[in-house]
């Protein structure tokens, strides 16, 4: 493996693992609890990622691709090869992971200062970065699946970082188990594909699909199986329930995993497997994504917990990406993944900064009952926390789809894709409706959050004097990522802020043709999206203005009363506030029946199987062992074994007479022995 990209990738992959091992074993004994080990490792990773990114930009080749693999398991006909795939998507994704991870590491230094499991926290961050890089780099489904599970584990560990709180422990369990549901589908998908094609590598799979080795319903099912994994990780309806609860973890973790990278893994997977998805599968993907986008957005309207708002907004934005994959513009999905990672991570850092500050202010007042995350306790923080405010504002503009900001470009690409899809298939007019509806609601609730937090009168005036801007370790990532929410970075080398046409991203990440015979070609998708571009742009600016305007009227100018609106909406408000009672209904119709079934089965297991079958066997065995024990003792032991002992004893007492202890006797025996030997030899 002499390829420089592969070598860099090896370092990028394993450095965080090394940091994890150092931290988990000796982290506590290092100075500063070893956070510099993790930060150092992740910074090297970032530098390597940046150099790879720069090399990619200098290369400027859409077909840039390196692969390297080795045989991991060889059992005759059954071989598993693991390997790296480095192409433009990989390099961009690696940079995203490394950048956000570095920011999180630095942000956490202050945010978790004095935490009892400080070094362990950094260790898990290292483990997560390792596994996430594993997903990004793998060129086959099996190593991706392994890293996938590792990501699940590190997510479990980090959500449950404060496991003394029941809610955190439960949230960790919920996240892990919900992900399992998706992962079963993922595994079934992998097996279906392996059975048909006989390889795990993406290249082989796409060739197999194009060659018709797997087709029709089987291929659709396999694709949907893989997509189920993505649904779990990217928290798509109906597996979305874990992500809001995952906010129990430390806020930097939410920024890293539950906003920017881990949840994006599902999108990354669907982007990777896009060529094998059949039209039917894509339709399911599109509907699930679109529905999730709208549905989660409606929940976010009424949430009062600042992190919950962001969590549902994440679910909604992920739905966008999935919708984009489903409508065929999967490069737009990846683009949105990139921009979303930046602005959403920044929003989480901002919320972390606010919460941190609230927490300290409440601590000063010895108030331990007020929820520092509740926006109803905030307000008027704008002057107190200017850096946080302005960087969050930039990101909010981005997510709301305001022109000149990054989210506008990516969202526009997605909406154009869904619009073009609906133009080709008018019966699926709902997809763009989902998209634009969610866009309007997103703009509304994001500005609602901003206004409630930073504008207006302080809701707890006694706190406002203790609210301070966060330290520079926290402000730095905020400024950096806030800057990255501006559109200009993504349209380079063209400076047109409203179109990505000809930018480095659209040049380097080209859609590839679907491997499924008869699917839309890349060209058709692109031209369709291009034609829909202007209409989509106009519409999306329109809905963004609508949403922002409503938020301004309701929460900034207080022209419209939010409470009245809520009352007028009636049960809809109630549903939204309670997240459509999903958790309750899952509990009632899924968990409880399952538990009852498990209890019945355990009754059968214990009362019938265990008591009669197992214990019966036990009794038979005990009887047999008594019989054989008797035989063993009386015959083998007493007669045979002790008999040998007695023989040896008797022989010994005879022979010991020869052992006189006198050397001269021994010499005599030796000489006699020699004489006997000589006699034997002579005759």
């Amino acid at each position: 493996m002499n390829n420089i990209f592969i070598n860099y990738s090896l370092f990028i992959l394993f450095l965080p693992l090394v940091a994890f091992l150092i931290q988990i074993f000796i982290g506590k004994r290092l100075p500063r609890q070893g956070d510099w080990v993790s930060i150092g490792a992740i910074s090297i990773t970032l530098i390597l990622s940046i150099s790879m990114f720069v090399a990619m930009l200098l290369d400027y080749d859409p077909g840039f691709k390196h692969e390297a693999s080795f045989t991991w398991l060889d059992m005759g006909a059954f071989k598993i090869k693991l390997g790296f795939l480095v192409d433009n998507i990989t390099v961009i994704m690696l940079l995203v992971v490394a950048l956000i991870s570095t920011c999180t590491h630095i942000f956490s230094v202050k945010y978790l200062e004095g935490d009892i499991r400080y070094s362990r926290y950094f260790a898990y961050l290292g483990l997560f970065t390792f596994s996430m890089n594993g997903i990004v780099l793998s060129n086959n489904l099996i190593s991706m699946y392994m890293s996938w599970e590792l990501v699940g584990v590190s997510s479990y560990l980090l959500i449950g970082h404060w496991f003394e709180k029941d809610s955190a422990a439960n949230a960790a369990k919920k996240a892990f188990l919900t992900n399992r549901v998706g992962d079963i589908g993922f595994f079934i998908g992998i097996m279906l594909i392996y059975t048909a094609i006989g390889s795990f590598a993406f290249t082989d799979i796409f060739e197999g699909v194009a060659g018709g080795l797997i087709a029709g319903t089987t291929l659709t099912l396999a694709g949907l199986g893989l997509f189920m994994g993505a649904m779990g990780k990217s928290s798509q309806f109906p597996l979305h329930i874990w992500l809001p609860d995952a906010m129990e973890g430390p806020t930097p973790v939410s920024a890293l995993m539950h906003a920017a990278t881990m949840v994006a893994a599902g999108v990354y997977l669907t982007v990777r497997i896009f060529p094998l998805l059949t039209p039917d599968a894509l339709l399911v993907v599109a509907y699930i994504g679109g529905f999730t986008a709208l549905f989660a957005a409606t929940i976010a309207i009424t949430q009062n917990d600042i992190k919950k708002v962001l969590a549902y907004s994440t679910v909604s934005q992920l739905g966008y990406m999935i919708l984009a994959v489903g409508t065929g513009v999967y490069t737009a999905a990846f683009f949105h993944l990139l921009t979303h990672a930046m602005f959403k991570a920044n929003l989480f850092y901002g919320s972390g900064s606010v919460i941190h500050s609230m927490h300290h202010a409440l601590h000063e007042k010895h108030d331990h009952d007020t929820d520092p995350q509740d926006m109803r306790n905030m307000g008027g923080f704008k002057e107190k926390m200017p850096i946080t405010y302005w960087s969050m504002l930039a990101s909010t503009m981005a997510i709301a789809g305001v022109p000149l900001f990054s989210g506008f470009l990516s969202k526009d690409a997605i909406l154009a894709g869904s619009l073009s899809f609906a133009q080709h298939h008018p019966e699926h007019f709902l997809l763009p409706v989902f998209g634009f509806g969610a866009a309007a609601i997103t703009a509304f609730y994001m500005f609602r959050m901003m206004f409630m937090t930073f504008h207006g009168k302080p809701q707890m005036p006694e706190l406002i004097n203790d609210i301070h801007e966060s330290p520079k370790e926290m402000a730095g990532p905020l400024v950096l990522l806030g800057t990255l929410s501006v559109a200009i970075w993504y349209t380079f080398p063209h400076l047109n802020p409203i179109s990505t046409h000809g930018s480095w991203f659209t040049t380097l990440v080209r859609p590839i043709d679907s491997a499924v015979p008869g699917n839309l070609t890349a060209l058709a998708i692109e031209s369709g999206a291009h034609h829909a571009h202007n209409l989509a742009m106009g519409l999306s600016i329109g809905v963004a203005v609508l949403g922002i305007g409503l938020a301004v009227l309701m929460y900034l100018k207080n022209v419209l009363s939010a409470e009245n609106m809520g009352k007028r909406a009636g049960f809809l408000y109630d549903w939204s506030l309670n997240k459509y009672y999903f958790d309750e209904n899952y509990d009632k119709y899924l968990y409880q029946p399952t538990l009852r079934l498990a209890k019945k089965i355990s009754w059968i297991d214990w009362e019938l199987y265990d008591k009669y079958f197992i214990n019966g066997f036990g009794r038979v065995t005990a009887w047999a062992s008594r019989v054989s024990g008797k035989f063993d003792y009386d015959i083998i032991d007493q007669l045979l074994v002790d008999g040998f002992g007695r023989i040896a004893d008797n022989l010994g007492s005879i022979l010991k007479k020869v052992q006189t202890g006198k050397l001269q006797n021994y010499l005599l025996y030796v000489t006699v022995g020699i004489i006997i030997l000589m006699i034997i030899q002579s005759f």
Binding site: K656, Q659, T660, G661, K662, L663, Q664, L667, L668, T671
Partner: protein, 101 residues
């Protein structure tokens, strides 16, 4: 003069006498003297084979080494004998039989 067998048989006689001495004497120093007889018998063999095997002096070297070893052995053995005498006031090997069961 006289063939190889003569010397070998003389050596065998000396060897047998040495063995007899080692086997039957009670005194540790007598046993040592028996050992010296055995070594001399061996030396006679070395030199006889050297004389009748082409006179190439290798046997002489070996005999020389045996003499040196005998000297070392005698020195150490006598030191041990004197130690035993100091501890047990006897050097009769059948009385100094701590090795017996």
């Amino acid at each position: 003069m006289y063939d190889l067998n003569t010397y070998l048989i003389i050596s065998a006689a000396l060897f047998s006498l040495g063995i007899f001495g080692v086997m039957t004497r009670r005194n540790a120093i007598s046993i040592l003297m028996g050992v010296e007889l055995i070594l001399n018998a061996a030396n006679i063999n070395f030199i006889a084979f050297s004389r009748f095997g082409g006179m190439n002096l290798d046997g002489h070297i070996f005999a020389l080494f045996v003499i040196v070893l005998a000297a070392a052995e005698a020195a150490v053995a006598l030191a041990i004998v004197i130690n035993i005498y100091n501890n047990m006031n006897t050097i009769n090997v059948d009385e100094a039989s701590a090795m017996k069961e």
